[in-house]
Structure formats: C-alpha cells, structure tokens
C-alpha cells in the first residue's frame, strides 16, 4: 500500500517537474562580426580600408562557444548542459538558442570561447563537435577554438592571405578564453565582435599565419576575447 502511495507521489512529482522544465523560455544569443560598425557579410566578402592605403577582406569566421552560464552577482544561476556550439559566419550560423528557466534572475552571461581540455582528450564526439566540421587538427590533436581567414595587402604571403587557426588545450599553450557579458532575464543577447579592433591589435605584416598551439596563439586568443562586447545601443 505504502509503496503505491510513494509511486503515485513520484509520478505527480515527475509531472510537476516536467511542467516546470517546460516553463523555460528561449533566449537567443547572436553574434555580429563588425568592421567599423557595419556587419560583415561572409558570403559576399568586401574589401575594407585599413590605414591609409591598405585593404582587408574576411573570408571565413568560425568559432566554438561552450559552457554557457547565467550569473547573478557572480553566482551561477543556470548552466547549459552539453553546452557546445559552433558559430559559423559562412553558414550564417551566428545565433544560438538557450533555454533557461523563467523564474531565475541574472545579470550576466558567461561562456567559453573554445573547447575545454577534458573534452579535447575525450575521443570522437558528434554534433557540433564532430571532426567533420573542420574544427579539429589532424596532425596533432585538439579542437581549433577559433578560425579567421582572409586577405590583406599588408600580408606578404601567397595571395596576401592571412590565416588564424587558434587552439591548444595543454599547458602552457591553453587558448580557451572566458567571456563575461551583461544580460537581462527574458531579453535576447546581442554580441558584437569588433574585427577591426582585433586586426589593429595585431601586426599583420609580421604575424599573419598562426596555425598551431603556441605562445602567439595564446596571445591572439586573449585579443579575440577582448573584442567581444555587448551590442552598443
């Protein structure tokens, strides 16, 4: 008899918690790669002027966002499970949906730019982490956290190309970065990525090809993180 009651209560409880979970709302987190306040269209690459006589064109932007959390006063209110998202400007995958519960308050969103070290050594994975996504190194293991490619007249390379494949999870070349931005309950989140600033922080004449974990990659990953910001109103 008693057991039946317990089972019944468990049943009720499961219905209750299910409806609770359904009460979450969808919030989008959207990324805007910018050059001088205009959004870059990666499907129709244009040349932008830099300096006096030079120009730059962006051909590819792809990066991982992982470990999304919502915080209130530094306290974690919610964190996404299995939180790995590939952002791909060329495929117009610039926006992701998160589903936090309705009843929490928060002031901040926090996420990683890149893939954590445990995931990096855990073997083959699917979904956005599938190696067919082209964000995994082959000759040496590890995810590429961030890819930016294009052409710039400052680069004395073949076709003036530059190539940044930033990754690395092992000490001392870990290049995963954490980004904290402001957020408000039930409001979509808009994130600017100021690529002009990123380019200005760098010396494209001498540093235009980073394709392996290194000191330079770590520095570059710091700079990338610094150009993520809340959309200016």
């Amino acid at each position: 008899m008693k057991i039946r009651i317990v089972v019944f209560l468990l049943f009720l409880n499961s219905i209750y918690s299910n409806t609770q979970a359904q009460k979450s709302n969808e919030i989008s987190v959207s990324f805007y790669p910018l050059f001088k306040n205009s959004v870059i269209d990666f499907n129709q690459p244009a040349f932008y002027q830099i300096g006096i006589n030079d120009s730059i064109q962006f051909d590819l932007l792809r990066f991982y966002i992982s470990g999304i959390q919502l915080l209130n006063d530094g306290k974690v209110m919610w964190e996404e499970q299995k939180s790995f998202h590939l952002i791909d400007a060329n495929e117009n995958l610039l926006s992701i949906l998160i589903q936090p519960p309705l009843n929490i308050s928060y002031t901040e969103i926090k996420f990683n730019l890149g893939i954590d070290s445990i995931t990096n050594v855990s073997g083959a994975m699917g979904g956005d982490l599938d190696p067919t996504k082209g964000m995994y190194w082959t000759w040496q293991n590890g995810y590429i956290n961030f890819k930016l490619e294009g052409k710039c007249s400052l680069c004395m390379t073949r076709n003036n190309e530059f190539q940044f494949h930033i990754g690395g999870y092992q000490f001392p070349f870990s290049s995963i970065q954490t980004i904290n931005l402001l957020a408000e309950p039930q409001k979509n989140i808009y994130v600017d990525i100021d690529l002009r600033k990123l380019i200005e922080l760098n010396d494209l004449v001498n540093e235009n090809n980073i394709v392996a974990p290194s000191k330079e990659a770590v520095l570059f990953s710091n700079q990338i993180a610094s150009v993520f910001s809340n959309r200016k109103k």
Binding site: N120, V121, S122, G123, A124, M125, G126, L129, D130, P131, T132, K133, G134, Y136, T138, W139, Q140, N141, G142, Q170, F173, S214
Partner: protein, 342 residues
C-alpha cells in the same frame, strides 16, 4: 513463482552470453594494467568492430582509392610497414617517419612517435588528411562512404543509424584497433609458467631487465614515456621529436618508447627506420649512443655487453613474437565484406 525463476535463469544466461562475447572482443591479460581507453564512451560490439575492420582495410578512405590503413600497417608485420624505413602513401610520396606496429593500443596513453595524438579515436584523422598519406579529409570520407552500397548498411547495423558521421566512423575504426591485443608470445607463456626459456633466452632476459627495461618496461615493453635513446640526428629529416609538440627544448630528440612485442617482424627499427636488424639496434646501444643535453639519464652509463650477451638479448627479444596475433584471422582482410561489393 516458476515464471520469475525462469526469467532469472534467462537473465543469467543472457548476461553470461554477453560476457563471453565481450571476452572475445576485448580482454585484459592476466597481470596487465588497466587499459587507458575509456570503453564506457565506446563500448565494443561485434558489428562495430567488423565495421571498423572493413574501414581499416578499405582504400575508400584515401583520395584516389589506392591507400588503406593496411597499406602501411600490415598484419604479418604486427601492423607495421613492412620493409619501408619511411612509410610511403599516395602517389608514392615518402612520409617523414616509420610506421609503428599497432597492438595493445587500448593501453597506450598517446600516439605517434612524438605523442601528437591524444586519443585513439582521433588517430585516423592524421593519415586521412596527410598529403603524403591518404590526402583526403574526414568530411569527404564521410560523404564518400555515404554514397557506397556497403557502408550505410554496415553503419545501420553497428550504430542503428545509416546516416554516417565522423564520430561513428572514428569510433568504429577505434573498435577494430582496440581488439588488436598481443599477449600470447613465448615470453607470456613463460610468465604464466606454461613454458620455459632456454638457457640463452633466460640469460638474455636477465640482461634485458638490467639494461633495457628501465624504458622498455614489462608487460607492455614500454614505460610510455618520451626519451632520447641517443640516436644521431638525421640531417635530411631534422626530426626533433616530442619538442615539435611541446615546443620545450628539454623535449628535443625525445621519442616515444616503443613496445618491443613482435619486434622480430616490425623491422626496420626506430622512428626513421634507420636500423634493419636487431644486431644494428644492439650495436647502437653498446657503441653508438650520441651524447647530448637531452640524452636519457638511463643511458649515461655506457651499456657494456659481450658479443655473446648481445646474442642472448636478441634470443630473448625473439620470444616476444606472438604468432597467434600475427596470424589471427579475426584481424585479417575482411573478404566477406570487401570483396563482395567492391
């Protein structure tokens, strides 16, 4: 009551049936350490292993359908590259390193001579993409497999999904490689007290324990570390080994200590295949050690061996040959699958 008893018996049978099946695919030999591979993320099944075996032997993985994993890793050389110092791949391009034997990979912590690969699942990405090896990429491989007659069915059987993904492809190849256990050499029988060494082998074993097992540690015959064993650098290759990965000068010229199981068949030897015979290897340790900043401490004291002792060590090394591994038909070309459709 009777019913539940029957049910219980039924359950017992299925469980024991499963364990028998599992033992056939993978087992930990007596007194061996725990495997490094996390089987919970990729539990072995018969269908997945068979799929992996087909992929391992199928040149479909290379750009022009000429090269399979087996081209460089053939069973009768313990899955090393027979007779080639530097492995050669597509269009006969010569690679930079000697293909190592593939066995007991479930126990291995890292892969490649410099440890560039951190997980067995990810290993195939390297040869598939290497311009001098298979010159393709996992994305095109997956699309190509999807277009074949054979593979969507095999993936459906193995993973319950005929849509092929990179994850499933890599996991299947791992499954096959994980079954490549070599633990039935004469040495193993002696350790299990089922055979005895000859006087010569016994003496060789004693010498081996004194001079070699600091790095080539039993039972896997590797301590899984990266060491500099005093090879002179080959100026045409300039291979700095582990330092390529860590960028740390202390790792310069350090290479992964390879297992010595089946060493009789996995010639030529060393990362660049510079030695053809075991005598050459022994001569290196006795008189060829190149002193350098990163030379392993274990080799700072010269190894002194008479020519008889040298022969004894080699006699011992030959007891590491495991014929049941080299000729195990479970590991060989899957005729039933590949000949039928291709």
């Amino acid at each position: 009551m009777k019913k539940s008893l029957l049910l219980l018996i039924g359950i017992c049978f299925t469980i024991s049936g499963f364990t028998i099946l599992k033992e056939k695919l993978f087992y930990v030999p007596k007194d061996w350490p725990k495997p490094e591979y996390d089987f919970s993320k990729n539990p072995l099944t018969h269908d997945k292993v068979e799929l992996g075996r087909a992929l391992f032997y199928d040149p479909v993985l290379s750009k022009d359908n000429t090269i399979s994993c087996n081209s460089c890793h053939s069973q009768f050389t313990a899955f090393a590259h027979v007779d080639h110092a530097l492995s050669h791949g597509i269009n006969n391009l010569i690679g930079n390193r000697n293909a190592p034997a593939l066995m007991n990979l479930a126990w291995q912590k890292s892969f490649m001579w410099d440890g560039a690969i951190n997980h067995l699942d990810m290993q195939p990405l390297a040869p598939i993409a290497n311009e001098k090896e298979m010159a393709s990429n996992i994305d095109s491989v997956v699309k190509k497999l999807q277009r074949t007659k054979l593979y969507p069915t095999l993936f459906l059987k193995a993973f319950g999904d005929s849509i092929i993904t990179g994850e499933h492809t890599l996991k299947a190849i791992s499954q096959f490689m994980l079954t490549l256990i070599s633990s039935n050499s004469k040495y193993d029988s002696v350790m299990r007290k089922k055979a005895t060494f000859t006087e010569q082998e016994k003496n060789g074993y004693t010498l081996f324990k004194l001079t070699c097992s600091g790095c080539h540690q039993e039972p896997l015959f590797t301590n899984q570390q990266f060491e500099n064993n005093g090879l002179t650098i080959d100026a045409t290759l300039n291979d700095i080994g582990r330092m390529k990965i860590t960028l740390d000068p202390n790792d310069s010229l350090n290479f992964k200590v390879p297992s010595l199981r089946n060493i009789e068949f996995s010639y030529p030897y060393m990362h660049d295949g510079r030695f053809k015979k075991l005598t050459d290897v022994l001569n290196h340790y006795i008189s060829g050690i190149q002193k350098s900043k990163t030379l392993s401490k274990k080799l700072e004291v010269p190894i002194l061996l008479s020519s008889n002792e040298k022969v004894d060590i080699i006699a011992f090394l030959l007891t590491l040959t495991d014929r049941s591994f080299l000729f195990n038909t479970d590991f060989s070309y899957p005729k039933e699958l590949l000949l039928k459709t291709n």
